[in-house]
Amino acid sequence: MSSSLTQVGAIARRSVVRTARQPASIIPPLVFPVALMAVNAGGLRSSTDLPGFPTESFLAFALAVPFIQGALFSTMNAGTDLARDIQTGFVNRLSLTALRDWALLTGQLAGIVVLGVVQVLFYIAVGLIAGVTFASGPLGIAVLVVYGAIVSLSFGALGAWLAFRTGSGETIQALFPVLFVFLFISSMNTPRDLIGVDWFRIAATLNPVSYMIECVRSLIITGWDPQALALGFGFVIALGVISLALASRALRTRMTRT
């Protein structure tokens, strides 16, 4: 293994180990999205009676939401962890080693992806236990895991950018509700074509988070929908590319070594 890959592995291992040692970082991304899904599935079950609703199981419809909600938790955790490293001087310690800038970012994100995959497997398991049938079959479940990894990577890069840019865990935590607004003004609870309020439907149509949720939802309740998959993968990859570019640039400024 080349030294760069060894460095990436070492940083990723640290990221996973420190998260595993903080129950407060593991439990909320697993429990809160599932709890919210359970509440919604109970309260909004009658939505399935609407003409044109794509499934008879609201649980199957709602199962897509934790994938994105969990990723938002990852964004905040990744950001606050990195910001803490900046505030305590740990990034300075790393700057004084032979660590390459990109290896720090890649390693940190690799750790987030590992945790993101664990989250996705948990949500899938919860769905299977609750009786949800995945219309796209085992291959679709595999695609969901891959999609979950990409979502974690993209949102993790967004968190890393915020951390390198602001250097403040408090600022990132303050931004968390803003990210959640994107989730709430999406198609998380109702298909876009069934949203009756005009401004909400337009906002949900303009919101990329809607397409990320619909990509996951299509694999669970529709089967293989090329358009939903293309839009879902397209938006999340675009978010990832932009976030990674911004994070790399901010990292170079932050690791001010000669």
């Binding site: 070492a10 490293d85 001087g89 740990f90 300075n92 070594r257």
Partner: protein, 328 residues
Amino acid sequence: MTRENGIEVDGLVREYRKGPRAVDGIDLAVAPGEIYGFLGPNGAGKSTTVHVLTTLLPPTAGTARVGGYDVVREGPKVRSLIGVALQEAALDPLLTGRDHLRLQATLQGVRKDQRRPRAEELLHRVGLADAADRKVSGYSGGMKRRLDLALALVHSPRILFLDEPTTGLDPQSRTALWEEVSLLRREDRVTVFLTTQYLEEADVLADRVGIIDQGKIVAEGSPAELKAEIGRPSVHAIPRRDEDRPRIAEFLARFGELLDTTRDVSVRLRDGLGLTDIVRAVDADGVDVVDLELRAPTLDDVFLAKTGRTLEGAAEEAEAVVEQKRRG
């Protein structure tokens, strides 16, 4: 070409945006295998100098070579041969001591088969073998400092930078760290650049001392040389009654230059005078003092002679400036 393992600094300046010159044109040279003590109060420019020499900050002007490499143009080469323990022992509270050493060894490029034995060796060396698998959040201040030192040594550096390594430590931990630093120089011939605000630390550890104040080096030499520069001893008198202080100050001023009248009353003796001269005069004039003490010059006297302030007073002044800036 700078000698191997040495440090050469020429006209180094570092300015912060909207701030004063933290480092204002310093020149210094540290020989291989030497312990150089960089002594000064808070805010004098010690840590900024360390940040420039360790490649964490680019200088505004001037040059610095560490181990023969330019800190601006050859940063990676400089980093490969230095070990650094910065003022804040930036450790991850969730990792164990052993986790830290493993991570640091990997990132410093220590060969895979060498990482474990090197970590064990260092854990024993700094006395943390028993605490190696405990999370750092449970370490005392002294243990964190020792782990920080072990991390700085993981890749066997030739030059070691220690930025106020004993600040906040209890006397026992401080002495243990001093012994370790002395051992590094004696057995491994490591060059040590040590910043401190403790006179005793510089006196005990350093072969040579540079005294920095307001970004400028105001004195440099071995502790003995610097003290010899001051030359004359001082006499310190403690008045029995506080209201006698002005009278005793007037009395002592006959014997030399008055230094301090706030705590005790002290005077730097003129050439040719000794304690016996003062004791005789005290008896003859009936001056009422609790104690009279003759003191050889200290590094604080050197600082006072060069800057007109005591090291403690300069630190308080620097803190007041910081507080004033904070309040806008």
